[in-house]
Amino acid sequence: MKILKKTIIYVVLVASISFLLPRLIPGSPFFFFHSDMYVLNTMMPEDSFNSFVQYYHPDKPVPEQFLVYLKDLLKFDLGRSFYYKLPVAELLTGCLGWTIFLSFVSIGISSGIGIPLGLFYAVRKGGKRAVWLNVFTGLNSVPVIVIAILIQMLLSYKFDLFPSSGAYTPGISVSDPGWILDVIGHAILPLWVLVLAELPPIFILTYNTCSRTKNQPFVEMAQYLNIQEHVINFKYILKNTLPEILSKINIQFLYAISGVLFVEVVFSYPGIGTLLKTAAYSRDYPLLQGILLVTGIYGIVINLIFELIIKRLNPRVQA
């Protein structure tokens, strides 16, 4: 119940930010009073101006604008994109799938490798764990932008191993037999970059939490009692650290959405990121607002799912 209440607050806050932000920034078209509308009219193309007036009602007072905005939201009406001349909601639903695909698969792969690896290195006695930790710590601080450009430069342009852009070869359709393979081929590079960016933090935080738990008295006690090692590792260490690890992966997942959007731009992947770039470049306000809202809500949903899972795993955690 508490989680639900929190989620509703988040949604309201995100909606208010997406409503208020453009009105708070000096120099934005929202900043004009309706008496100055003719100035705006000279700044924008005629059709953009018309749809702007039609959707935002700049002649009405701000609180009323907010009510209209909320009412439109409930009808899933996010306005019309200036650039694409299409309803924003339609554009977003077309792109959201690719973004969700990339973020889920990349986090899945990263967690699938990172958590067992982190646990393995944390419980292993001796060995060269420091080397691995250093490699991952180093990798952790390399910005996604650098990884993305380097990988695209080397593997796609210089050596021509993978397609450099898009989610599928233009002209190929879902019903074609090679469609799935084609999509996978196009997804390999973006996923590779994302995994390189997401794996290190997941590995490091699993390693750190497991190492800390490993030295706790109840684990040491289990060792004195000669309980089998794999039982200790899974039942004592992993099971007790999993809620903590998951709550950190939750945050990593939220950060990863940013990374996904970015990678989409570099590889011209047809997700929200590419839409974002076009929207920002062409200053397409309704589209920008829609993207802020949809990505924000995507983040909220992810957060909700994780909190529910964590609560299930560990009823003692107070949300």
Binding site: Y10, S28, P143, I145, I149, Y281, G296, G299
Partner: protein, 266 residues
């Protein structure tokens, strides 16, 4: 990579880079805005990193980038650290409703992808360096607030701080009393954010909505990628890679210095 292992080495790298940023007019071979040279010259003694498609000397542009990129990073980080720390201390001091409101705000800023907020603001505002800095500050403060608030909440429970609370010390007295314990976290977060801000700035330039006149590293990378034939020859080696490496080295050195930030976070 060896050099990044030691903190000292990282400090030296950062200081040297900052020094280059401060003194680049003295060491720059040409005016950065001078495009009178032949275009797309390969590296030579006249042009160490060659020239771009317009005929700018790439090395000179790169040197300007030291000042612009590092300057933006530091300015944004100073502002965000200041705002973030003040809010964190307010949250820890007043607790209750004030604390809850501040926490909810920081959480919302984690839920909304930062890149969207960044582009949102810069797309709507005029593309100036000043606005880029403000956009970076706008969502960065929440990271600082989250971590410093957690720290402040534990420090405020220390008996020496409780003593001041018992005598109705105001928020300044309390901050003064806590500063010794808070300072390391604040300093680390500041350094950490410097690296982040440098990356954000180049991201903005990469998206093509930074200040087109500010010759930052990101802007040079954007120009390089916009040039059609960047990958057809070896041009990318002295056009795209140097600014990329500058950012990489700067960020790596910074992350070495701010290494213990993970400890604070967990």
């Amino acid at each position: 990579m060896i050099i990044f292992r030691s903190n000292k080495g990282s400090w030296i790298i950062i200081l040297v880079m900052a020094l280059i940023g401060l003194t680049y007019p003295l060491i720059s071979p040409y005016e950065a805005g001078d495009f009178s040279f032949d275009s797309l010259v390969s590296p030579s003694f006249d042009h160490f990193l060659g020239t771009d498609e317009m005929g700018h000397d790439i090395l000179s542009m790169l040197l300007v980038g030291f000042r612009v990129s590092i300057g933006i990073a530091i300015a944004a980080s100073v502002l965000a650290t200041l705002i973030g720390t003040v809010l964190a201390i307010i949250a820890a001091y007043y607790k209750g409703l004030v604390d809850r409101m501040i926490v909810r705000m920081t959480e919302v800023f984690i839920l909304v992808p930062e890149i969207v907020v960044l582009l949102f603001i810069t797309a709507i505002a005029k593309p100036t360096v000043y606005n880029s800095i403000l956009a970076i500050v706008f969502f960065s403060w929440s990271k600082i607030t989250r971590i410093i608030r957690a720290k402040a909440l534990s420090v405020i429970e220390l008996e020496k701080v409780q003593y001041t609370l018992l005598l109705k010390g105001n928020i300044f007295d309390i901050t003064l009393k806590m500063w010794r314990e808070l300072y390391p976290a604040v300093a680390t977060m500041f350094v950490f954010l410097c690296g982040k801000a440098a990356v954000y700035e180049s991201t903005l330039a990469f998206f093509g909505i930074g200040d087109p006149l500010a010759k930052s590293w990101g802007q040079i990378m954007r120009n390089a990628l916009d040039y059609e034939g960047i990958f057809s020859g070896n041009t990318y080696l002295w056009y795209l890679l140097p600014p990329l490496l500058c950012i990489l080295i700067f960020v790596l050195a910074i992350s070495r210095v701010a290494y213990n930030v993970d400890e604070i976070r967990s």
